[in-house]
Symmetry: C2
């Protein structure tokens, strides 16, 4: 009905012909009606006067929101633009292409409607109160690319305030997929979580969450490092989040020192820090070592180097085997949570998602196949089923 | 890729078989990708690593948001649920079906992507600050069903803060369409705006906005009434908004008294108040009177009554001729504003929209056809062209 000329995009010279920019021209998503609007009869059902009866029914029983609106299938993808990919604090406007990308992945892989929300504030209190005010519009909140340590407090407070899933994907999406790959790597190398010595470099959003999920999965000998070395309580420079983590990790084993000190004899290295680990340090790891260098685009240990010293190697990149990609987790996790109208995403739901992902590999498990491909059509259904079941076990399912 | 079973809706007994509720089951809209996501190559363009280059370009030049995101074509439909249809303060959850309906009308009639946002606050300051924080995510803000007088302050402050269109549809959508119908009614009855005596009942969002646009269109003898009668400065009970309006309307003519007093001899009555005007009062209007009873579902003067005393009659209902329906205005107004990347919606753009609407009737003008149908395919293109041209004249166009 609208003149197509009005939708025409003007060309912006410097980007013409660049396939990335051509694909992004006009954005990557749209909103679409799912009901017919052919004439006055349709209009009187979908809008006034008919819609008033639906409003009145929901006013009388707010739980009907879940039946008669798009809310229960819709997630807000919320950022303040402070930690976008590896680009850092580029602000809300420049963050939008990533949030749109995330939104289309939610729909493509999970059938979840998603709205990108880029906020013009970096203040923790303001972000929390803004998201809380938006909450009636959404069935869940996916926090994205918010810098540490603010991301921890923002997620914790919103989880406490809201009765819908709140999930910081940079933390938990990465943690779920890393755990899935690690479960298979341990299976392949004949290890158990409780008998494996693990080192994580990086104590930001991903590092903290990977550490937490590994502890929940039964890893007992774990050291997490930041730029100054292993987190342990004798250090005087730890943030509250790092201090908590130190108590549950290196304090229990007494490990201190540098990343190099920690890696000597370690079974598993998970890098979520950026930077490069020298080959001579990698060489000190145990036999049949497992190395996940997850920094993008430059892994902490290049796969060519890692393969000289480790049996299982994973990265965050799609051009090497064993890609640790969040898209394996977040669509299915929200799909499963939404299917049972979960009030939260629990630790049990995340662990279940990881195990479901790991189990998809099944008998095909081998060194270069410890995690399925994002385009494996079994992924989202397997994750969502496991997450829904775990929600029931954890008592957060509402149907 | 997602199991369809997971999208299945359970049935809720009491509403089964009701066509309004059946249509609303699962909501009325969805988000959809406009780019292919068939495999890793697509993913590396639409998401990491490719997307990082688009983010960096926007960080360096924020105006590129308009070329490479969905933002410039997307409006937030924002409410606090305090004045929903005729239902009053039913809250944000119960308001969602109306906001979704509005969103799908934006797309259907204007090609505008729209996101319904229902806020869990009624506080003026909180609404203003929340919308301002959301602003980087949207190309425009459509305020909806926010009660008076808060709606006036919220719109005024947001217009001052933001460089994107902010438009309270209950005010200006109604005003534009009412003016369009009135322009044709005056043409038909041989009147001019400056020579016509007009009475508006209702000094809420719609009443104030209709009064303001009629003044801008040249009406000079205008009385606006609330429950206590004509607004004039000798009254001590006026809100600031009503006091301003009194100075520009009845103070200039000295009219006071009741609605019945004002209607005696009046040429035009526009009802946006609800309630009923008695037939004996309607009978006192001038010859060739014009009566717009816009309350829904019960017009202030039923068309059967109005026709006994007036030459041109309009309502807000689709089952009578001459429907004053906001959908004639808001999709084309935002389409036109977005087409030229307008920084605001000016008075000139609203007047241009009204005249464009009125002119579509053309030579077919007659008593029962003073305003086109919402399903007339010429409407949105005509409105958007006129609005875009007026934006250029008013200096708010950015391309």
């Amino acid at each position: 009905m609208v003149a197509s000329a009005s939708m025409e995009q003007t060309s912006t010279g410097p980007f013409d012909g660049d396939p990335v920019f051509e694909l992004h021209r006009g954005g990557k998503m749209e909103t679409v009606s799912t009901v017919p609007l052919r004439g006055n009869d349709d209009l009187s059902l979908a809008y006034t006067p008919g819609v008033a009866r639906v409003c009145e029914a929901i006013a009388a029983d707010p739980s009907l929101t879940a039946d008669f609106t798009w809310v229960p299938n819709t997630v807000a993808v919320v950022t303040d633009g402070t930690a976008v990919l590896g680009l850092g604090d580029i602000g809300p406007a420049a963050a939008m292409p990533v949030m749109e990308g995330k939104a289309v992945l939610f729909k493509q892989f999970g059938g979840v409607d998603a709205v990108p929300i880029c906020l013009a504030t970096k203040d923790t209190d303001e972000i929390v109160e803004t998201v809380a005010r938006l909450a009636p519009s959404f069935g869940g909140i996916n926090l994205e690319d918010i810098s540490a340590p603010r991301c921890f407090e923002i997620e914790r407070r919103l989880k406490a305030m809201l009765d819908i899933p709140v999930f910081h994907d940079d933390q938990h999406g990465t943690a779920v997929v890393a755990l899935a790959a690690l479960e298979n790597a341990l299976r392949l190398t004949g290890r158990t979580p409780g008998g494996t010595r693990v080192v994580i470099s990086g104590a930001g959003a991903a590092g903290v969450a990977v550490a937490r999920i590994l502890l929940a999965a039964g890893v007992r000998d774990l050291a997490v490092t930041d730029r100054r070395g292993v987190l342990h309580s004798s250090r005087g420079d730890l943030t509250p989040v790092k201090a908590d983590l130190a108590r549950d990790t290196a304090d229990l084993t007494g490990r201190t020192g540098s990343l190099a000190d920690a890696l000597a004899g370690a079974d598993v290295y998970i890098g979520v820090s950026g930077g490069t680990v020298p080959e001579e340090v990698v060489a000190t790891m145990a036999a049949d070592a497992v190395i996940f260098g997850l920094a993008n685009p430059t892994p902490e240990v290049h796969p060519d180097v890692a393969h000289r010293h480790a049996r299982v190697v994973a990265t965050g990149r799609s051009d090497f085997p064993n890609q640790i990609n969040n898209v394996l987790a977040f669509p299915g996790i929200f799909r499963g949570a939404f299917d049972v109208r979960a009030s939260a995403i629990t630790e049990g739901m995340k662990l279940a998602a990881a195990t479901a992902l790991a189990n998809l590999v099944g008998d095909e498990l081998r060194e270069d196949y410890v995690i399925p491909s994002p385009f494996d059509p079994r992924v989202a259904p397997a994750v969502s089923s496991a997450v829904a079941a775990a929600a029931r076990v954890d008592g957060v399912a509402r149907r």
